[in-house]
Amino acid sequence: MTTAGSRSRTGDEAARPDTPRPDPEADPSTEDTAPLQEPAVPTCEHTPPREHTRPREGAAPHEGAGPGVAEVPEAIGAEVHDGGEAVPLAPRARLWPALGAVYRAQLSRARVARIPLLFVATFQSLGIMVLMRGVVDDGAEARAVVAGSSVLVVAFVALNLLAQYFGQLRAGGGLDHYATLPVPAASVVLGAAAAYASFTVPGVVVTAVAGSVLFQLPLGGLWVLAAVVPLAGAALAGLGAALGLLAPRPELATLGGQLGMSAALLLGVLPAGGLPLVVQWARDLLPSTYGVEAFARTFEPHPDWARVVTDLGVCAAVGVLSLAVATRAYRWAATR
């Protein structure tokens, strides 16, 4: 690489923090100073006309510099080896450890920012159940109300709050942080989704127990929540994450999350029997419905376990699908 002739006068100094400022009057080399409007480095690597720097056709990527680049002044005065070995890549973060790290970080956020919202989610569901107490009869409708109110907590946090979180993260440039770390997209999305689903556990349990007491339903089947929360949580969190990541503006992500939650409220809590056909179809499309139905069935004196498993299977399938979509959405949003 040519360095002769074009090196700058003070190029050897490399202007370290401790380098004294050059005194223009004392520096004899300033006699041959370029006129004021001349670029400081006339043949700087950055200013040659574009045709000079056009990569040569068919040249190996590490081959010596092209015609324009050959004039690069090495201000540091060092020989440059462009064709050196590539620096080995640092290892990637593996899926599960990275997921664990994201999960832990997200869970810690809950302590700071999410607890008030958890109370809101829980009280909202408790309020709905108290309201419905006087409206529905015991039996199928009561079971639907309790199950719907419990799953509503999941919808509030996993769908609504996660959509808001990812919407704000994307709008605020926060995705750049994750995108410049060698972490699988799935770790970020699943870690956040899992953390948000976990936030819901206390609220769901409180709602389910309070509802069962309120409507005199058996408490024995509540163990099924251990399956309902993660599966409905996965489906709704995936949906929420995808919404947040794909929405062009954070307000739209918030709106989408709110609407999704309203849908979960109306279609999940209201007993299905009396709804118009179109609304019933919409109800069938909402993943939380299957969580609600699976949970409601376990209140029956003799639950149909096969149908419970089927409902949970639908939840799981939707969860896998929506989390896959969210992962794609994350990749898309992170590198635009």
């Binding site: 223009p24 001349e38 950055h46």
Partner: protein, 339 residues
Amino acid sequence: MGSETTPTRAAVRVEDLVKTYPSVRSKRGTPAAPAVRATDGICLRVHQGEIFGLLGPNGAGKSTLVRQLTGLLRPDAGEVEVLGHDLVRHPERAARLLAYLGQESTALDELTVGLAAETTARLRGMETAAARTARDEVLAELGLTPLAGRPLKKLSGGQRRLACVAAALVGDRPLLVLDEPTTGMDPHARRAVWAAVDRRRAERGVTVLLVTHNVIEAETVLDRVAVLDRGRVIACDTPGGLKAAVGDEVRLELVWRDRAPVEIPDVAALAAAAVVTGRRWTLRLPPEAAREAVTLVTTGEAFAALDDFRLATPSLEDVYVALGGRAVGADGVEGLVKA
């Protein structure tokens, strides 16, 4: 760092990089924006172990360039090679080569300082124990240990920025890309950041690409600097080399008490060469002329009207202006920060 005899290699090689943001159609309340060439044929070479600066006003294309170097933004045309890897073809490799400190901290805001550093280390592929050790080291290095348990949100702007720097430094990357790392920091924190960066360079030959529009910082910490304006590199050299290129002109600033005494013929002659901002005149003069001007304004009637004056050797800001960059305040465009 390369001496005359030690061969160094290009840590970053950028050739003819172009990125055009598409035009925006006008909507209600917002006028149409034409297509913008944010980077317009940029060529750069950053040597290994160098602290290389990108200097320029807001909107010069610095952040766009950096986003292309970190694999976050795909260039329309051109080549980006980082430490021997083609990042246009393999943008995902960037995350395994470099650490990036963006301008935003939204991803970390609700974490505690300690957890932000630890999580970032874990996501850079470190095992838990190693990540914790690295976290403790970097927090101690930057003087953040007492704040380790506080969420970033609750910290002052400078402290929060310092915590983000800690997250960027953790996990030993051979290239650090720092977008205005010291914004809002007090001098103490600034010094801690540059000491930490210098240590990494001395011990492991880490290369640093720094975006700044702080001229003072650029002059003191950078080995070389590229001045960007409207998506193009308008100059690139050591800070000393750039300043020498402006020539031996010095900058004379005059501040008048009330108004300039332009009835004095010599003062009126100065006015012709001055950039006038209210009561302040800025002149760029050869040393001899500057000396005469100082004599003129520090005697007689002119001195009575003079509030303050300052004589300074060229700064990078003068270089920037001399190179045809947009001057401070011109077209309502922000200039380079001076202090």
